[in-house]
């Protein structure tokens, strides 16, 4: 019987350090065979974007991500799972989100990280607003149908 998965979720303005987070996630564990991580970065959209401003729902953002992370941990029998999502203004090249899934074998780790990202994109209460390089305030980023499709493929046949 595997021990309960470690589930770590943080919503913060501060940046994060992948190496330190990996060490914390796997530290003291000898049963983890692999960790798959993904970091989402702010793109400059061909030089037109000065920054993204991320708004979030403080009362709900962490609990919504935690619910998804717990689902992923159970579905893929993960040893540990981590999600950090930043809010506030982030410049191109800056880190926005980190997810990492640890498991005895690679397949579950890759799937766990991808599942968490796909659900997080469409169900975690965050919204991105563009600030443009010419100094003007840009639009709110539109939700993409492709993101809904990416989430929904996890439902098929389950």
């Amino acid at each position: 019987m595997a021990s309960a998965p470690r589930v770590e979720v943080r919503v913060q303005a501060e940046d994060f350090d992948l190496g330190a987070e990996m060490a914390a996630l796997t530290g003291g564990r000898a049963d983890i065979g692999g960790v798959a991580s993904f970091i989402g970065l702010c793109r400059d959209e061909g030089g037109t974007l000065a920054a993204l401003e991320l708004e979030h729902y403080p009362g709900m953002a962490e609990s919504a991500i935690r619910a998804i992370a717990e689902q992923a941990a159970e579905r893929f029998s993960l040893s540990a799972i981590l999600a950090i999502h930043r809010y506030g203004k982030i410049a191109p090249g800056g880190q926005i989100v980190l997810v990492a899934a640890a498991a005895p074998h690679r397949h579950a780790a890759f799937q766990g990280a991808e599942f968490l990202m796909d659900y997080l994109k469409t169900e975690a209460p965050f919204w991105k607003k563009e600030h443009l390089a010419d100094g003007s305030s840009g639009d709110w980023v539109s939700a993409k149908d492709a993101d809904d499709s990416a989430r929904d493929r996890w439902k098929a046949g389950s």
């Binding site: 991320l54 708004e55 999502h85 994109k121 209460p125 965050f126 539109s142 939700a143």
Partner: protein, 83 residues
């Protein structure tokens, strides 16, 4: 009950949150959105396309058909774009 708005819903209405007493006949999220649309052009602008609006009751995602009941906090917002 507390109403809370995010992103362009918040911008169009011009405030982040407000307290309201639910009028009689407002039972579901859908009813609530229709009621809010009668409160002025800023609300009409925010809810011109109600089908795109997402809702949460006390921090849980819900459908528009969900009954508001004795909720403490209802949030209305655009589709999410995190990650």
């Amino acid at each position: 009950m507390k109403l809370i708005y995010f992103a362009w819903v918040r911008e169009r209405i011009g405030k982040a949150d407000e307290e309201i007493d639910l009028p009689e006949g407002v039972v579901t999220i859908s009813d609530l959105i229709e009621h809010l649309k009668t409160r002025g052009e800023e609300y009409e602008a925010a809810f011109a396309f109600p089908e795109v609006i997402r809702a949460a009751i006390d921090h849980e995602h819900v459908e528009h058909s969900e009954k508001i009941g004795s909720a403490k906090e209802v949030a209305l917002f655009p589709p999410m774009t995190g990650g």
